[in-house]
C-alpha cells in the first residue's frame, strides 16, 4: 500500500540512537513492548507516559516525525478493526457522541489502538535507526538460531528483487490495457500473485543451486571479520 518506497524503512543518520549497538536496541524494543502489552488498559496516563518516552527517543534519533507517520499506514487494518469493535462487541451499552456502543468493545478497541500504535511506532523507530544488516548482526549476537537469521537475511536481500518483479508484472499487465478496478478483475491479480510465487520459488531453487555450486553443505560459513568497523 501507499508509496512504492514503503519498504525503505531506514533513515540514514549518525545520531546517538543510530550509533547504539543493534542488539541493545532490539532488547529495548522487546522490553518496551512487553511493558506496554502488560499495562492494564485503564491506566490512561501511563500510556501518555509511554508516548512521551517514544517521542524523546525519536527526537534524539533526529528522524523527522513525518517520515515515521507516513510509514504508519501499515497499521490501518488494525485501526479499522479497532474502530469496528465498539459496534460489534456485546455487553452493556453506553452513549458516545450520540451513538450507542458496547462498553467492553470500546475498551478493547482503545486497548488495541493504543498498544498497536505504540508498538508500530517503536518498531518503525528501530527500523529507521538501524540498518538491516546491523539488525541481523544484533540478532545473531542475541543468539537467535542461525537458521532464523539466515532466513531474515535472505528476505532482506530478495525483497527488492521480488518487489521489482511484481512491479514489472504489473506494468506488463497494464500495458495491455488491464486495470484492477473491480472485483471482476481479481482473478487476474490472483493469477499474477500465483505466477510471482512460482517465480520466487524457482529463484529460490536457483539460488540454492548457485550456493551448492560454491560448496555449500547446509550451514552458512562464518564470514564475519572482526577487524571491520565497529
Amino acid at each position: 500500500m501507499g508509496a512504492g518506497h514503503g519498504h525503505k524503512l531506514h533513515y540514514h543518520g549518525h545520531s546517538l540512537i543510530h550509533r547504539l549497538p543493534a542488539h541493545a536496541k532490539v532488547l529495548a524494543l522487546l522490553g518496551f513492548m512487553l511493558t506496554v502489552v502488560a499495562t492494564p488498559r485503564t491506566w490512561w496516563p501511563v500510556f501518555a507516559g509511554y508516548l512521551l518516552v517514544l517521542a524523546v527517543v525519536i527526537a534524539l534519533s533526529q528522524v523527522p516525525p513525518l517520515y515515521l507517520v507516513k510509514r504508519m499506514v501499515i497499521e490501518l487494518p488494525f485501526v479499522v478493526f479497532a474502530v469496528l469493535m465498539p459496534f460489534i462487541a456485546t455487553g452493556p451499552r453506553t452513549e458516545l457522541l450520540g451513538l450507542t456502543v458496547s462498553e467492553p468493545g470500546l475498551l478493547a478497541g482503545w486497548a488495541l489502538l493504543v498498544k498497536g500504535t505504540l508498538g508500530v511506532l517503536a518498531s518503525l523507530t528501530l527500523a529507521a535507526t538501524t540498518e538491516p544488516r546491523e539488525l541481523l548482526r544484533g540478532l545473531e549476537r542475541l543468539r537467535l538460531p542461525t537458521e532464523l537469521v539466515s532466513i531474515l537475511g535472505f528476505m532482506i536481500r530478495y525483497l527488492d528483487v521480488v518487489t521489482d518483479e511484481m512491479r514489472r508484472m504489473r506494468i506488463a499487465r497494464e500495458s495491455r490495457g488491464f486495470r484492477a478496478s473491480s472485483p471482476r478483475h481479481w482473478p487476474v491479480v490472483a493469477r499474477s500473485a500465483g505466477a510471482l510465487f512460482i517465480r520466487s520459488y524457482e529463484r529460490g531453487e536457483r539460488v540454492h543451486l548457485a550456493m551448492v555450486a560454491r560448496g555449500y553443505t547446509g550451514s552458512l560459513p562464518h564470514t564475519e571479520h572482526d577487524s571491520r568497523r565497529r
Binding site: 538491516p132 536457483r206 539460488v207 543451486l209 548457485a210 550456493m211 551448492v212 555450486a213 560454491r214 560448496g215
Partner: protein, 252 residues
Amino acid sequence: MTTPVLDVRGLGYAYPDGHQALFGVDLHVHEGERVALLGPNGAGKTTLVLHLNGILTPGAGTVAVSGLPVTKQHLQEVRRRVGVVFQDPDDQLFMGTVRDDVAFGPANHGVKGQALESRVHDALDQVGMGDFADRPPHHLSFGQRRRVAVATVLAMEPEILVLDEPSSNLDPASRRELADILRHLDVTVLMVTHDLPYALELCPRSVVLSDGMMVADGPTREVLTDRALMAAHRLELPFGFDPHAVRSPRVG
C-alpha cells in the same frame, strides 16, 4: 599430453520425467584454454554444465576434473575446482554485502581469517570491484553484479571457470569491460553462450552442442564460417557480422 582440466566421456543423461537431454557427450578442455560452448536453446548446454560440478549425476559416462572423477566422495573438491557463474547474478549474490558473498565460496572450503580476507580482496581486484566490498549487492548496477558474481567464483581459485551466458543483458560497454576482464584472467574458461561474436572475440576454440550431441569442435572462426553446420543447428550470426572481417582471438 597432460591430464585435461575437463574430461567428459560418453556422458548421457535423462531427466526424471524421461526427457533425454544428453546422448554420449565427449569434451576435453586442457589447461589455459578458453572454449566456447555453443548451441541452440534446449540443446542441453545447461544440463552439461550441471554435470561438471556434480549437481546432476550422469546416467551414463564419466566426468573428471583434472583427473579427479566427479563422484559423491569428491564433490566438495570438485566444486572448488569448477567455478560456475550462473546467468542471473541475483541468483548468485544473496548475502548482505559484496564481501560476504565473495567470501562464501572459499569459507565453505575452510579458508578463514587473513587468508579469506586476501582471497576476497584479490578476487574483487581481478574484476575491478575492489572498492565495492562493503556495498549490498542489490545496490550495484547489473554489469557490476555480473562482475561480482565472477569474483565469487574466482575467490575459490578454481581450475576452470564455467560461465553461463556471461554477456546476456549487458549493455555494450559492460559487455566489453567483462571481455577485458575475462581475457586477462589466468584460468581455463568454458563459456556457454549464444553471443557468437563474443565467442569469437574471447575463445580460440568452440564446440557445438545440438540435441544432446557434440556436433562440432574446432577453431571458433572455422565453426562460425561453416554455413551448413550453422544452419543445421539453428546458429545464426548477427546481421552484418562477418567472422572473416575481425582479428583472430589470441591463444592463451
